[in-house]
């Protein structure tokens, strides 16, 4: 899957469009730049990591690589998903390490024109303001662009 994802932006680069993998966290539509995405996973069995910050849902095995999973609901200070709800993961790479972002649903890959981009409204409260790189106006909804680097900059012992 990562193959097809990384193929697209190359063709669209000229047309000043950006490609995002869209996902939902507690009904909010969000997007992660497709270039950063390495994999999309369904429900996975996670190994909990004791003493870890509460945002860390655990570790999972992705084809022999150990991937640390971060629960986006917790990272964004949202209520936990009801127990038993299947979750999906978006695997992103940062600094040579793989991280899985646990989300409610991964929907599609879309290409968005730069003209539809807006900066964060100044009234957006944290933590959203902190982890949002900006907003895209879609036809009938808004898409929050997630700043994965900031999301994964988990201060130790926080």
């Amino acid at each position: 899957m990562s193959q097809t994802l990384s193929d697209r932006p190359a063709s669209d680069a000229a047309s000043n469009e950006k490609v995002f993998v869209t996902l939902t966290v507690a009904d909010q539509l969000c997007g992660v730049p497709a270039l950063n995405v390495r994999d999309i996973l369904g429900e996975q069995s996670l190994t909990r990591v004791p003493m870890a910050p509460r945002e860390i849902a655990g570790s999972l095995n992705l084809r022999g690589r150990i991937v640390t999973a971060m629960d986006l609901r917790r990272r964004l200070n949202l209520a936990d998903a009801p127990p038993g709800t299947p979750r999906m993961s978006v695997v992103v790479e940062q600094g040579g390490e793989l991280y899985a972002l646990l989300v409610d649903q991964v929907s599609e890959v879309i290409s968005l024109p730069a003209s539809a981009f807006e900066r964060n409204p100044p009234t957006l409260p944290p933590p959203w303001s902190e982890y949002s790189a900006g907003i895209f106006r879609l036809q009938n909804r808004l898409l929050v662009v997630l700043d994965t680097e900031r999301l994964l900059a988990l201060a130790p012992a926080s």
Binding site: V49, S59, I66
Partner: protein, 903 residues
């Protein structure tokens, strides 16, 4: 950087390493022409190549050195130590320049004319200028920097034969026999970048895991239509090939430990000169192979230890002669494989560790108290040298003795999952033994479960596994019952072969959810970390598995409990525990400086315990807990059923050389129990101990109260609800969240000895002509009054207790006479300080000894109390201290008190 330059640097670095060894070899055996030719050729190659590359500075130095070597080879110059020293300086300078080249890609600016001049002087037959200051100090790398050296990342891969000559003649015959003769063995080797090897290793690790998963699938898979059967054979083949491949790739990473040793002959030679000692270096097992990553990490600690042995271990030739040893001291290195690990011994035949000096130093640095030292074995004392800031060298030399050293060595070795131990005999020498894993990539680990999660514990730190019961009394049912986890103030411990093993629950430590049902039995993984053992309580133990260690994700790296993580055969991720981190987190690993820490907390606990009291909780005749102040209890004992005898229908036991009556709390001794838990009460401080030691001193009477089970010791602020009427019960209190009966111990004491409180003997040390000493107790808390009265009465005092200072003054005015007064400090109407001031001011009691009872025993408080007029200060609940204090006060003539107080 230019490819040509990279090649040159790699080649030159190898040549330089060879040169060091060869030069020292030459010095010992000047007639060895083959070695001389080798040296000449190596220097010549360096010179030639740098001329080609336009490295002018390097070329000049090499050229001057080559001139000298050429004359030596042609026998135009005699070979002396000074000549060699100068050549070595030249080599050092070449190294410096090469290092700078490696770092920057260009020759550093600098001036070598002095060195070149002295080399030229030698080659022209002039007297060799005696060892001028070395061009650069020896790169004495501090061991803390164990990061791989900045040399080009290339490894030699022996394809058929070891590529290098045996490093030095000192290497034992077995090492030499492995080399292919003396000819420069141009064995078939190729250079491969280390990163290529690392990638290969990672791929193989993953292949191994995938193979394990496939095997698991076929084993457990649902084989309805025999589909899986078809995979069995190819899968087996895949499995074999994978294993072989893994082994092969591991081999490419293996290097002989001699590679870490080849700098040592030179180092020892220089040290010997600097320290004016004669040192012989013996190296055995240089061809023992280990993973290059481990090799890199072990290099610096090894160098440091050899340095240490030369400096501290070996004596001067004079001292050795005086001790009747050969003048030349020996440092020997010995490496060998043992059970999947490499053992390296660094031995010297020097003075050994001076236990006396280590003790003195440990005391001076506050690492241990006199009493702790007295209880330690020699080996334990010797291990102090591995603590931070500990150096026994009297003087700080340029070589070692800087107070950092062995502790850093220890830390570095532990970091790679190794252990270090030492044995030393004073006057005979010291042997350090380092045990390190062959490789860091794959380790054998024990898989355990706690709180519903699985964890891996590296096998190297596991000593044994113990299954222990939770709850119940020690040895409760049957003699071969499993050991029991006991509690001291809710801290679990285990009696293991007559030793108390500290335990830590993995579930609690990692803050995992408790499993719903408390298990009846647990497993204890006994781990050895340095000199300490620690038991880790786990719920289940599975199996040992070879695991591929992978580093923890950066965002989890701050959790010190884990040294890595891995994927098991079933595909699940599992965290690898770091026993060192666990020990540190549980306060054990702080064993360096542990006693100091512990003293700190004890002092704190005392201060904080104002109004709190240590109570022993036990059960007897029912499930509800009972409590008795810990201060009243002399000892806790387990007594075998067959040790119980009967005299006149009363159970007794022989205890420390005399008979001790046993009083069963619930009336009768349960005949079904093999052992009884007994609380021993004694009516004097030394109890039965003094009696058994001296055979005299029948002041000590003891009574054993038999209970069902000792539960815990808790420290709590007591709010005792008094319950009159029931014999043997002072009242009840909420202790540890549970309603608890507080026992009136005086009731049981009189059951054992009806005359306990009218003891004819006077322990108080007062002449018996005037009858027992009378003590006035001023204490507002009824509970403490009830506690003190029996305590004092049992020691032979006549006691009057009042609840306020007002009542005390009424007794004074009524003409009552006492020999001493005990007073609480914190009291509602008038506090103890004001009370004693008032007493001292006037009246008949002005010169009586007055002892303060308090929860605070802070020095300032004591000072304040003494100024106000208290004779002594005693912590509440400390029965023995109180009795001792009373005896002292009463033994002294009272007038003396007023003198000391006035002073």
């Amino acid at each position: 950087m230019d490819d040509l330059l990279v090649d040159f640097l790699t080649e030159t670095n190898e040549g330089l390493a060879e040169l060091d060894v060869a030069l020292v070899k030459l010095e010992r055996n000047p007639a060895d022409e083959a070695t001389l030719s080798l040296i000449f050729r190596l220097v010549h190659t360096i010179k030639g190549t740098c001329g080609f590359l336009g490295l002018g500075r390097l070329e000049k130095v090499a050229h001057a050195a080559e001139d000298v070597l050429g004359k030596l080879r042609d026998k135009q110059l005699p070979l002396t130590g000074d000549v060699i020293t100068n050549v070595l300086f030249a080599i050092d300078q070449i190294k410096e320049i090469v290092n700078a080249l490696t770092a920057t890609g260009a020759e550093p600016a600098g001036e070598d004319s002095k060195l070149i001049a002295s080399l030229n002087a030698i080659s022209h037959g002039e007297a060799a200028p005696v060892a001028q200051s070395p061009p650069a100090p020896l790169p004495s790398k501090i061991i803390a920097a164990v990061a791989p050296s900045p040399q080009p990342v290339l490894a030699m891969i022996p394809v058929e034969a070891p590529a290098e000559d045996p490093p030095s003649p000192e290497i034992s015959s077995d090492a030499q026999s492995s080399a292919t003769g003396n000819a420069p063995a141009n064995a078939q080797t190729i250079r491969v970048g280390v990163d290529v090897l690392e990638d290969l290793m990672t791929l193989v690790s993953e292949l191994v895991l995938t193979r394990n998963q496939l095997l698991q699938l076929t084993r457990t898979g649902d084989d309805k239509d025999g589909e899986l059967g078809r995979f069995t054979v190819p899968l087996q083949r895949l499995s074999h090939i994978t294993s072989d491949l893994q082994e092969g790739v591991m081999k490419t990473r293996m290097q002989p430990i001699g590679n870490a040793w080849n700098k040592l002959p030179r180092l020892v030679r220089d040290l010997a000169r600097e320290l004016n000692k004669k040192i012989e270096l013996v190296m055995v097992g240089a061809d023992t192979e280990l993973d290059r990553q481990v090799l890199e990490l072990i290099k610096d600690p090894l160098t440091h230890m050899v340095r240490n042995s030369a400096d501290h271990g070996l004596e001067t030739p004079q001292a050795r002669r005086a001790a009747g040893k050969p003048e030349t001291g020996q440092i020997s290195l010995n490496a060998y494989h043992e059970g999947g690990h490499i053992l390296i011994e660094i031995a010297d035949d020097g003075a050994g560790l001076a236990v006396g000096r280590i003790k003195a130093k440990a005391l001076a640095n506050g690492l241990a108290t006199d009493a702790e030292l007295a209880a330690m074995t020699e080996a334990q004392i010797q291990r102090f040298i591995m603590r931070a800031g500990f150096s026994t060298a009297a003087a700080v030399t340029s070589v070692s003795g800087r107070g950092v050293g062995m502790d850093v060595v220890k830390t570095n070795i532990e970091q790679i999952g190794g252990t270090i131990d030492l044995k030393s005999t004073e006057g005979r020498g010291t042997v350090f033994t380092i045990k390190i894993p062959l490789t860091l990539a794959i380790v054998s680990a024990l898989i355990v479960e706690a709180g519903g999660e699985r964890f891996a514990i590296p096998q190297i730190s596991v000593v044994e596994l113990v299954r222990a019961r939770v709850g119940g009394t020690v040895g409760g049912e049957g003699d071969n019952a499993a050991p029991v986890v006991e509690q001291i103030n809710a801290t679990p411990v285990l009696r293991l072969r007559e030793q108390l093993l500290p335990l830590v629950s993995l579930t609690n430590l990692l803050r995992l959810p408790e499993t719903a049902a408390t298990p009846e039995a647990v497993y204890i993984v006994v781990t050895q970390i340095g000199g300490t053992t620690l038991g880790i309580i786990v719920d289940r133990v599975f199996d040992t598995e070879e695991i591929v260690v992978k580093p923890v994700s950066p965002i989890l790296r701050h959790i010190t409990m884990f040294s890595g993580n891995t994927i098991l055969g079933d595909g699940s991720v599992i965290m690898i525990l770091d026993p060192n981190g666990i020990a540190r987190a549980s306060g054990v690993g702080a064993l360096d400086g542990r006693s100091a820490d512990r003293r700190g907390t004890v002092a704190k606990a005392r201060v904080a315990s104002d109004g709190k009291m240590a109570m022993l909780l036990f059960r007897a005749g029912g499930p509800e807990p009972k409590a008795v102040p810990l201060g009243l209890i002399a000892r806790l004992e387990d007594i075998d059923r067959d040790k119980v005898e009967y005299t006149a229908g009363q159970p007794v036991t022989q205890y420390r050389g005399r008979l001790m009556p046993l009083v069963p709390m619930n009336g009768v001794l349960d005949p079904d129990r093999a052992r009884y838990s007994v609380l021993v009460f004694c009516d004097d401080e030394t109890g039965g101990r003094a009696a058994s030691r001296t055979g005299i001193g029948d002041g000590g009477r003891c009574m054993g109260l038999v209970v069902d089970q000792i539960v815990d010791v808790v420290e709590e602020r007591l709010q005792v609800e008094l319950a009159g009427g029931r014999p043997g019960l002072l009242g009840s209190a909420v202790i540890a969240g549970q309603a608890t009966d507080v026992i009136d111990i005086s009731y049981y004491l009189t059951q054992a000895y009806a005359d306990w409180f009218s003891h004819p003997e006077q322990h108080a040390g007062r002449k018996s002509d005037a009858g027992p000493p009378r003590i006035l107790v001023v204490e507002d808390s009824e509970f403490f009054r009830n506690l003190l009265v029996p305590t004092l009465a049992s020691a032979g005092f006549e006691v009057v207790a009042v609840s306020s200072t007002a009542q005390a003054f009424r007794l004074h005015d009524a003409g009552d006479e006492f020999d001493a007064i005990l007073s609480d400090i914190e009291m509602p109407d008038m506090n103890g300080i004001a009370f004693v001031r008032a007493l001292r001011a006037k009246g008949r009691w002005a010169e009586l000894p007055v002892i303060a009872l308090t929860g605070h025993v802070a020095p300032e408080q004591i000072e304040l109390g003494r100024e106000a007029g208290f004779t002594d200060y005693v912590a509440k609940g400390e029965r023995q201290a109180l009795l001792r204090s009373l005896q002292q006060c009463l033994a002294q003539p009272v007038t003396q008190h007023s003198i000391t107080l006035a002073a």
